[in-house]
Each structure stands twice: as structure tokens, then as C-alpha cells.
């Protein structure tokens, strides 16, 4: 497939793998965090760790939009969906996420009208077709998906589709990275920066990470070669005693971001004073809500929501996994009480969640499969 195969070339990967090994200082262990869940997915799906020396480990970060949604917000969305006059729409990844009283799938089986959409514009289509229903789009995601939600609100306003509204759960990446850097238990050597978020916000917002926090960051694409190259660039910075923000994904990410997309977000949304992240707790100025001007499209103002904060199950260690403090398999309930069939934590639900990626793709002993996969 064009534009895909070029970035999955095994020969090129072997070359990069050798170069990466050469850059590693003997005896030194390197820890890089890939911030974005999309990267986690790519790493496991393509078996990328096979190309890294044992002294380079990748730590999975908080950038999985489904994983960071707290249980209380799931319950709020289900409470909206349970109303007879409502069609709730959301992305497929969200459907299995457990709230305090079950998942969207459970609520759908019990009679709620919950539909999976691929884009918020699909939700708008449903609103047009069902003028007697109130169609709510549960919006999730970082700055990557916020512009499309904002555009959809603008479209709804232009068409006077007043039966459409958004339950806004958009979050912002920079406060999450700050929270990681403030975490005392984690020693990182650098970041693999979130490529798709950066197509919107650009690379400039990361400059403080290199300047003030002293960690190099390479903004990376999502194909396996992109990630290997980013690891190479990080190691190279360390070897040359540099600490900078570099843009590996320049084919898509402009340094200053997408100003139009940012304008659209600013037109429709504003920062919340604080927002709860699953496992990370309340983080100030870390999420977006619909602003006053578009209040009539804000599901939080239209519907009376329970708004109850639901504590994570005691056994759930998603917070530690999201912060990269624990590897997925180090969680006490990983793979036994918490599985993709009956997830306790969000990290086990989304295919971008570190636990689901490890369980579905990486759940094997590398030593044992060496023999099995020998050609």
C-alpha cells in the first residue's frame, strides 16, 4: 500500500536498529516515554521492541484519550443516554469503557439508543434525520479531535440544528505531560512526542520541556519506522549532550501548528478551571468545555447530570500505568481480574491503552517465542 509500506520497511528498520545500538552508552539504561496511545498501539502491533536493545525501554504515557476519562463522566454520559428522547453517539473505542454502573454496551443492551460514529459529523447527520430526538455526541480526545468537534458545533449552529449537542470531554496534552514530569517515581531520559496532537498545536508548546525540564522531545509519526527514527534522534541528542525539541513528523506537523484549527477550538471552546483525569486526579486547565456563546449545544447545560465523582476500583492501578510508573503486567489485577472481556480499568479497553496493547499483542515471553518464530 502506498504511503504506508514505505514506513514499514524491515530492511530500513534493521539499519536503524544497528545505529540505535551503536548510540547506546555501554551500561547505561535509557527510558523514553511515548506520550501518545497511538504510538503504544504501533509499538505492540508491529513488534517494534524486537528492534531495540534491552537497555532501551519505552514507557507508555497518558495520551490515550479513552483511558483518561474518569468513571463519573461515563456514568454522566450513560445518564444522558438513558433518557427516552436521546440518541447518544460516540466513538467505538468508548463503548466498552466501564463506568460505575456498567459500560455503554450494557446500557445499549438495556434499551438506550447508543450509536457508534466515526466522526462528529456523522452524529450531526443522525440529528438531521431524527428531528424529534435530541442527539448528543460524547466528544473525547486531545487537541487532535477537538477541532472536528468544534467544527461540528459551528455547522450545527449554521444549520440551526438545535436538537444536537456535545458532551465535551476534550483534554489538553501539555498539563498531562507536566503531571508526568511532576511525578516523583519516574526517571525519564526523553519523550517521543505525540504526532497527531502536534498537527494541531505544533511543536512550540513543548519547548519548555527541553528548556526548563531538561528532557529532549522528538515529535514522532505513527508508523513503526517513525518511532524507531525518533528513538534514534533522542539517543543522538543524549550522545551529543543536546536537549532540544525535534520534529521527526515534519511531513505532517508544522512547527507552529494549525492556526485555523486552533481558531476553531477557541471560537467554540474554553479551558475548564480543572478536570478529573482517570488515575491522575484533578489537573487544572487541562480540559475544554463548550463556551457561553455556544451554550445551547452544550449537553452539560442542557441535561441535569449526576456529576458524581466515582472513585476507581481499589484494585485498579490505571493511574500508575498512565503515568508510566508501572508496566501493564505489574498491575495487581492485570490479565486475571482485569481482561479485555471484563475490564476494570480504562487502559484495558481502548486498543490504544497500554494494558490492552500489551495483553492483545505483547503477552508472551520473548525468550520462549524466539524458537517458535525462527525462520
Amino acid at each position: 500500500m502506498r504511503f504506508v509500506d514505505e514506513f514499514r520497511d524491515a530492511g530500513m528498520a534493521r539499519v536503524l536498529s544497528t545505529k540505535i545500538a551503536e548510540l547506546c552508552e555501554p551500561g547505561r539504561h535509557y527510558k523514553f516515554m511515548e506520550v501518545c496511545g497511538g504510538h503504544t498501539h504501533t509499538i505492540y502491533k508491529h513488534g517494534l521492541e524486537d528492534y531495540l536493545p534491552e537497555t532501551v525501554s519505552l514507557v507508555h504515557g497518558p495520551g490515550c484519550p479513552v483511558c483518561v476519562i474518569p468513571m463519573g463522566r461515563v456514568d454522566d454520559a450513560i445518564a444522558i443516554a438513558e433518557r427516552d428522547d436521546v440518541i447518544l453517539t460516540t466513538f467505538g473505542d468508548m463503548l466498552r469503557v466501564p463506568g460505575g454502573r456498567g459500560s455503554f454496551f450494557d446500557s445499549k443492551a438495556a434499551g438506550s439508543d447508543i450509536r457508534m460514529v466515526y466522526s462528529p459529523l456523522d452524529a450531526l447527520k443522525i440529528a438531521r434525520k431524527n428531528p424529534d430526538k435530541r442527539v448528543v455526541f460524547m466528544a473525547i480526545g486531545f487537541e487532535t479531535t477537538a477541532p472536528s468537534t468544534a467544527m461540528t458545533v459551528l455547522r450545527a449552529a449554521a444549520e440551526h440544528l438545535d436538537n444536537f449537542s456535545v458532551f465535551c470531554n476534550h483534554v489538553t496534552i501539555i498539563p498531562a505531560i507536566k503531571a508526568i514530569l511532576d511525578s516523583p517515581d519516574l526517571r525519564l531520559d526523553g519523550f517521543i512526542g505525540p504526532g497527531h496532537v502536534s498537527t494541531v498545536i505544533g511543536c512550540r508548546p513543548y519547548e519548555w520541556i527541553a528548556r526548563d525540564a531538561g528532557k529532549p522531545l522528538v515529535c514522532a509519526g505513527f508508523e513503526p519506522l517513525d518511532i524507531l527514527q525518533s528513538v534514534y534522534q533522542l539517543l543522538r541528542q543524549l550522545a551529543e549532550a543536546r536537549c532540544e525539541v525535534e520534529n521527526q513528523y515534519a511531513r505532517v506537523v508544522p512547527w507552529d501548528g494549525n492556526t485555523k484549527a486552533l481558531q476553531v477550538i477557541n471560537e467554540v471552546m474554553e479551558l475548564r478551571p480543572h478536570f478529573e483525569w482517570r488515575g491522575l486526579g484533578f489537573i487544572s486547565h487541562s480540559a475544554l468545555r463548550i463556551n457561553e456563546k455556544y451554550a445551547r449545544f452544550d449537553a452539560e447545560r442542557i441535561f441535569a447530570l449526576p456529576g458524581v465523582r466515582v472513585a476507581d476500583p481499589k484494585a485498579c492501578q490505571c493511574g500508575e500505568v498512565l503515568k508510566g510508573v508501572l508496566k501493564p503486567w505489574e498491575c495487581k489485577v492485570f490479565g486475571t481480574a482485569c481482561t479485555p472481556e471484563t475490564p476494570i480499568g480504562t487502559c484495558m479497553v481502548s486498543s490504544e491503552g497500554a494494558c490492552a496493547a500489551y495483553y492483545n499483542f505483547g503477552r508472551f515471553s520473548r525468550d520462549r517465542v524466539k524458537e517458535a518464530t525462527r525462520t
Binding site: D50, F105, Y118, K314, C316, K332, S365
Partner: protein
């Protein structure tokens, strides 16, 4: 799922030690390997139906479907024939050995490029018989129709059933019709049952796979699933692709003729796709199935649609493709027999069976890495970004 989930989960601070105790001789394992051993043990437990209600996942062919079948149906109906959970039951009668199977069809939309619910309902049941090594003979059909369903559509469906039955050499010899009130069904559902003659000596079973065996597939995978997804029109993607629905009785007989006793099993890759079949083999035979991503036949259009939607063609349904596991000495003959048939021109060797680690399907990725290919819980859910 109950509210106090947290308190009901055993939090075992000494889980690593427990894992070691549970696996005598496991002291040499790393901590990660101990966890993996503990997970393998948890997965081997008898499946339990935890949900209060049926969800769509229970119909998707993945883990939830398996749990439903094993914890509800198998538990209630248990007998040695059913227990094998093959595509069809293999019965010994005074008149000889018979294969017997049934399947229901609820596809939406009813008509799609390359076929409709009618030929699907005939081919699907013919294929389940063919996968047992049987010659398909007779079919029954049950219709559940929704009040208001256009007769012209019904006639169109029935005509394609008749054509498919003719092509497969089977007769539809009995049937039933029920009409339900508007809103109680989605137009038209069909259930077919089929009987076939087991005239060969071979007994095909997922449990028969052995280390060293070769895994083959009869053609490009995922065509049907992607066609139907696109035909629903929700994605605004159009592509030049048709369902692969076809009767497999001839091509499977050709494989049996060519590779005879070397054929361990044949399964058509319907719901859950090739990945699910390989998992069934790995678990039933307690072997490792190692697939080679670069060898998987996938049409560029299926690959493209899957990339866009964030799903994996390995899990996408086919309706005219099958996976077979054969003794390596017969692999060349089996592949040649497939390729000699019009339905098998795209056949390929896609992997091998190994002894360790048992119960797992491994994939050598085209990129050169390794990962496992697990069962999905339900339908593949698209990723958001």
C-alpha cells in the same frame, strides 16, 4: 457490573509468590513470565457468563461468543458430538457417517455487492458441511419475516438461494416461515440447516493440528466483511470490492483428494476471520500457530479500508475462504489443489504450527517484529485517532 467492583476484587499483595506456588518449578521464571503463567491459568478456566444481558459482542464470533456458547448452550446440551464444537456435527448412522449443521443469517444490508442474504444462507451452511469433509446433500430453511417486507425482495432472495443451491449441488427439502410484527425483526432473517454425507475416512478436527504442520488459506481475506461494512453506507467510503460468498465444497474436496490423510482440519473463515480460527486451533490442539504477516493474502482495497478504519483484516469475515492445516509433507499438494480451483487462485501458505508456547497465535509482522494475535472480545471497534 456491580457498583462496589473495587471491594469484590481480590487484591493480592503476594500475587507473584502465589503464581510461583501455583506453578511448581516456576521459580526460574522472571516476574513477567510468572504473570504470564498466571494469565494463562486464568484463561484456561471454564468460561462464565458474567453479563446480565446479551450484547452485540455475544454475536461477533470472538471471546464473548465463545463464552455464550460454552457457558450457556454447551452447558445445557452437553454431549460428546456437540462438545467437539466443530463447524458441523459428525454422526455415525446405520446408513453411514453424516455431517449435520445449522446457521442463522441476519446480515444488514440484505443485498450487497457480490451477493445477498440468500446465497449467504446457502453457501454458509454448505461450507460448514464441506469443512467437515462432507458432501453437502440437503438443506432446510426457516424464514423470519417482518410485517411489511416487500415480496419482490423476498422473491429476489429466494431466487438467489435457488441458484446457490443449484451451484452447490444441494436441494432445499424442507422449510418454515414465521412473520413477526413490524419492528420485531429487521426485514428478513434466514436459518438454514444442512445434512451431508461423510464418504471419506478422514476425521477433521481443530484438535488434530500437530507441531510442524503447515497453515494455508484459500484466498485473499476480509473481502466480505469490508464489502458489507462499506455497503451499510455509514462510512462514506466507496471501493471497488465484492463479497467473496461462494460454495467451498469443490475446492475443499480437491484438497482432500490431493492431500488426503495429511489434512488435519478445514474451517471457513467467517465471523472473527482467520485470527479466530487460528486461535481455535491453538487452544484445541494446545500448540502455537505462527503466522507470517507478509504471506497473508489481503487485497490492497481491504488493507486500505482496514487502515482507515483502524481494524485488522485478520479479524474480518470472509464467506468463501477457508483455512486448512496440513501435514508439511502434503502442503505442496494441498496448495496446488487449491490454486487449481477458480476459488483458490489466491491461496497461500500463511504459517506453521509449533509446540511452544501452547495456546497462542504469534505473528511475525511484515515490519520484522513479533506479536500475538488474540481473540477479540466482540466486533472490531475502530480506534479514534
Amino acid at each position: 457490573m456491580s457498583q462496589d467492583l473495587g471491594s469484590s476484587i481480590p487484591t493480592r499483595a503476594n500475587w507473584a509468590e502465589e503464581a510461583v506456588a501455583a506453578h511448581a518449578g516456576a521459580e526460574h521464571l522472571t516476574r513477567e513470565e510468572q504473570v504470564l503463567a498466571r494469565i494463562a491459568k486464568a484463561r484456561a478456566r471454564k468460561p462464565k457468563m458474567k453479563e446480565q444481558r446479551i450484547t452485540l459482542s455475544h454475536g461477533a464470533g470472538g471471546k464473548a461468543s465463545q463464552t455464550l456458547i460454552e457457558a450457556v448452550f454447551l452447558d445445557a446440551f452437553r454431549n460428546p458430538t456437540l462438545e467437539l464444537l466443530e463447524d458441523g456435527a459428525q454422526l455415525a448412522t446405520a446408513a453411514g457417517r453424516l455431517a449435520f449443521t445449522t446457521d442463522s443469517y441476519v446480515v444488514s444490508p440484505l443485498f450487497f455487492p457480490g451477493g445477498d442474504i440468500g446465497d449467504l444462507a446457502v453457501n454458509g451452511t454448505v461450507n460448514d458441511l464441506a469443512m467437515c469433509g462432507a458432501r453437502p446433500l440437503y438443506l432446510s430453511c426457516g424464514f423470519i419475516l417482518e410485517e411489511g417486507f416487500p415480496v419482490a425482495d423476498l422473491q429476489r432472495i429466494v431466487a438467489s438461494m435457488a441458484a446457490a443451491a443449484g451451484a452447490a449441488g444441494v436441494q432445499i427439502v424442507t422449510g418454515d416461515t414465521k412473520v413477526v410484527e413490524r419492528g420485531k425483526a429487521d426485514g428478513c432473517y434466514i436459518t438454514t440447516a444442512g445434512v451431508g454425507a461423510l464418504e471419506r475416512e478422514v476425521v477433521l478436527s481443530a484438535a488434530a493440528a500437530q507441531p510442524g504442520d503447515t497453515v494455508l488459506v484459500s484466498g485473499p481475506i476480509g473481502d466480505h466483511g469490508v464489502t458489507v461494512m462499506l455497503a451499510r453506507g455509514e462510512l462514506d467510503i466507496s471501493a471497488d470490492i465484492e463479497s467473496d460468498t461462494a460454495p467451498l465444497h469443490e475446492i475443499s474436496a480437491a484438497v482432500l483428494d490431493a492431500a488426503g490423510g495429511g489434512v488435519r482440519l478445514m474451517r471457513d473463515a467467517t465471523r472473527g476471520g482467520v485470527a479466530t480460527i487460528c486461535n481455535e486451533v491453538a487452544v484445541a490442539a494446545q500448540v502455537a500457530v505462527v503466522l507470517d504477516e507478509a504471506a497473508l493474502p489481503v487485497r490492497p482495497v481491504v488493507n486500505g479500508a482496514s487502515e482507515l478504519l483502524g481494524i485488522d483484516p485478520l479479524y474480518v469475515a470472509c464467506e468463501g475462504r477457508f483455512v486448512t492445516v496440513v501435514d508439511p509433507a502434503h502442503a505442496v499438494a494441498a496448495l496446488a489443489a487449491m490454486r487449481a480451483h477458480p476459488l483458490g487462485t489466491g491461496a497461500a501458505v500463511i504459517g506453521t504450527v509449533k509446540d511452544d508456547p501452547p495456546g497462542l497465535v504469534l505473528l511475525r509482522t511484515a515490519f520484522g517484529g513479533t506479536r500475538i494475535v488474540d481473540l477479540l472480545v466482540g466486533d472490531p471497534l475502530p480506534r479514534i485517532c
